[in-house]
């Protein structure tokens, strides 16, 4: 089975920024697979997703060797084809459900925007069915309500339904649960999981929450300051991380039992170095070579790591 999404050497630079927001990122999303982009704020994970779908603002510079969706080149796509794609194969769900809806228009209007006549009627029927599927009671009537009549969780589900009605092959979810309560979060994730199985949907998940990632993704990319620190099968990366940053991330998760871990060294991604390894400023093991020479990703064990010092001396707990 071919890959649904292929990204090679993606770089994104915002106008007037000191360093690129994303640099040299490459990954693939296999059919029926799910890949997660993980990192703290400012790591470039959202930017990557937005760059791939070309939703970034006009002035932002996006370059890549290759961005392919189901074999066709995304970079060279014209505006109309891009719109077609967005109404079809590619679906996106965003972080803040409340901010994702125009408060002045009804849910129905927003989801059926631009459609007319028979096409609209048919789409509407399917939309109602999907709304029911995601758990909205009396969808016919409720769809004509305004966003402020819905709870955050329901809004996110409605967004999902709106995306699914297009029968996408790839779902890109940018922090889909961050703005929700934990119980609602769990429900939404379960729903996404079910829908994926039902439809064989591939997923690109962006999250800062390792728990969500562990649950939803087969494959994970850890990003730091716009570069890939480590990537590999989720189980492998989480069980036996090889990059110091991944280790620190995992160590930073508060645990109820066990000895106290060394806390993540405080630092800002924005102040990451432009030369050498971006993590060198915060890394416990940093050497002069780290500060001078940018490490390239190379296979180490079951994962790919961008670190001069991998494999690290002590395998598990730091």
């Amino acid at each position: 089975m071919s890959d649904v999404l292929t990204v090679r050497n993606l770089s994104v630079r915002y106008p007037g920024a000191a360093r690129p927001a994303v640099e040299g990122v490459s990954f693939t999303v296999p059919a029926r697979g799910s890949v997660a982009l993980v990192g703290e704020s400012g790591s470039g994970k959202s930017t990557t997703a937005l760059a791939v779908t070309r939703l970034l603002d006009r002035g932002v510079e996006v370059t890549a060797d290759e961005i392919r969706f189901e074999g066709s080149d995304l970079l060279g796509l014209g505006a109309r084809e891009l719109r077609e794609l967005r109404r079809g194969g590619l679906g996106m769900v965003f972080q803040d459900p409340r901010a994702s809806w125009n408060p002045a228009r009804t849910i129905e209007r927003q989801l059926l925007d631009g459609l007319r006549g028979a096409q609209r009627a048919e789409r509407r029927e399917r939309l109602i069915a999907h709304m029911r599927r995601i758990g909205l009671h009396d969808p016919e009537r409720r769809m004509r309500d305004y966003p402020h009549h819905f709870s955050g969780g329901m809004l996110q589900r409605a967004l999902l339904a709106g995306v699914l009605v297009h029968e996408p092959r790839l779902l890109i979810a940018d922090e889909p649960t961050s703005a929700l309560d934990t119980t609602v979060q769990a429900e939404l994730l379960a729903l996404i999981g079910q829908l994926r199985t039902e439809r064989g949907l591939s997923m690109l998940l962006i999250s800062h929450d390792l728990g969500v990632v562990a649950r939803m993704a087969d494959h994970v990319l850890v990003l730091y300051a716009g570069r890939i620190a480590e990537q590999g099968p989720t189980a492998a990366v989480l069980a036996d991380p090889q990059h110091p940053y991944t280790r620190d991330l995992l160590a930073a998760i508060p645990r109820l039992h066990g000895p106290r871990k060394v806390p993540l060294k405080v630092g800002k991604v924005a102040e990451a170095r432009t030369e050498g390894c971006p993590y060198a400023g915060r890394c416990r093991f940093a050497t002069d070579r780290c500060r001078a020479e940018t490490p390239l990703p190379r296979p180490v064990g079951r994962t790919e790591v961008a670190c001069h010092l991998a494999p690290l001396p002590d395998a598990k707990a730091a």
Binding site: D96, N102, G162
Partner: protein, 364 residues
């Protein structure tokens, strides 16, 4: 922008006008309307009372003025009795109120006729200018503001930006004068004063609006002449207010375009045009509409100045002449009329608001 005066306007109390489906909705609407009307009455009463106080505080003796400067003391006393100025203040006040209620504003010394007649005569002329200016400037302001927000780095936007910076500071009377001199007198492109002359074109005066009457008479050259006379004054009016609307529209639009739902709409495959107009603009217009409504009042002020510059026979010129000749009744009448108009317009704007923002339709 000129003659901008204080930058806020009364927001009268009153509960939201509409309520969501439920019992008692008609009652609540009725209550809302009543309270707004009540408020209107309060303001009108305040305006009327204020003008009454002013008229009696006046340094010159109104009886003397009415009688004329040559009149002797007995004639002045007669006139005083005639005008009821020898009555106790309270009964004068009540008479005054009663008169206003009847729309009796007294007589003008200048024209020796009821002020009401003069007002009705002059009103269409002023309205013609104000309405034309308002429509043009609303459309232009919104368009320019949106363009500016969409392409902030383009050349057009830079020009618009510079234009608004200057526009905010231009005094409307001076602009009118400059236009009059350079485009009117020196270049001769436009007439320097006045309106369409009905007689010259054989058009009968039906509504008092030169453009409307010309259309009704089916006389294209008259219509052309009517418009030709309006160009300079309307341009001055529009130019003086345009900057505010444009800047506000641009700020509001830029803020909306940054909101997440715009990106989400794009991600669904909506065309850029739809996203901008139906989604973003709809929300961006809210503060702008309120501002436009407020500006209607300031447009009235600017119109007075423009009418003076261009000798346009409207309320402004009327007030100006009345003022110069110490003819107080017209001034008071105009104060009341313009104040009422101002408040009414603001009320109407308040009514539009819930339509634009569905969230306001609810009871909170």
């Amino acid at each position: 922008m000129t003659d901008i005066g204080p930058t806020t306007v009364a927001a009268p109390p009153a509960p939201p006008l509409q309520a969501r489906a439920g019992a008692g909705r008609p009652a609540r609407i009725a209550l809302g309307v009543l309270s707004r009307l009540g408020w209107l009455l309060v303001v009108v009463w305040a305006a009327v009372s204020l003008t009454f106080i002013l008229s009696r505080v006046v340094p010159a003796d109104p009886a003397r003025l009415a009688a004329g400067l040559q009149a002797g003391p007995e004639q002045v006393a007669e006139v005083r009795a005639l005008l009821g100025l020898d009555q106790p203040l309270l009964s004068q006040y009540l008479d005054y109120l009663a008169g206003i209620a009847r729309l009796d504003f007294g007589d003008s010394i200048q024209t020796r006729g009821p002020v009401l007649d003069d007002l009705l005569q002059a009103l269409p002329a002023t309205l013609e200018l104000v309405i034309a200016a308002f429509v043009i400037y609303a459309i232009l302001g919104i368009t320019l503001g949106v363009l500016w927000a969409l392409r902030p780095r383009g050349i057009a936007s830079r020009l618009i930006g510079v234009g608004t910076i200057i526009g905010v500071a231009v005094p409307v009377f001076w602009l009118g004068l400059v236009l009059q001199v350079f485009l009117g007198a020196k270049l001769g492109w436009f007439p320097i004063s006045g309106r369409l002359n009905y007689n010259d074109f054989g058009v009968s005066e039906v509504t008092g609006f030169t453009t409307v009457d010309a259309i009704l008479a089916g006389n294209p050259s008259a219509l052309g002449d009517a418009i030709w006379h309006m160009v300079l004054p309307v341009t001055a009016l529009v130019a003086s207010q345009l900057a505010i609307a444009t800047r506000l529209m641009r700020t509001s639009m830029a803020a909306q375009l940054r909101r997440p739902y715009v990106r989400v709409a794009r991600s669904r495959g909506s065309s850029e045009l739809r996203v901008v107009t139906v989604d973003a603009l709809r929300n961006a217009l809210n503060p702008v509409v309120t501002m436009l409504g407020m500006q209607f009042g300031w447009l009235l002020a600017g119109t007075i100045l423009v009418e003076v510059v261009f000798s346009w026979p409207g309320l402004g010129l009327y007030a100006f002449n009345a003022f110069r000749t110490f003819d107080y009744n017209p001034i008071l009448a105009i104060t009341i009329v313009t104040t009422v108009t101002f408040v009414v317009v603001n009320e109407l704007v308040g009514l539009i608001y819930p339509i634009l923002d569905p969230r306001l339709k609810e009871d909170r």
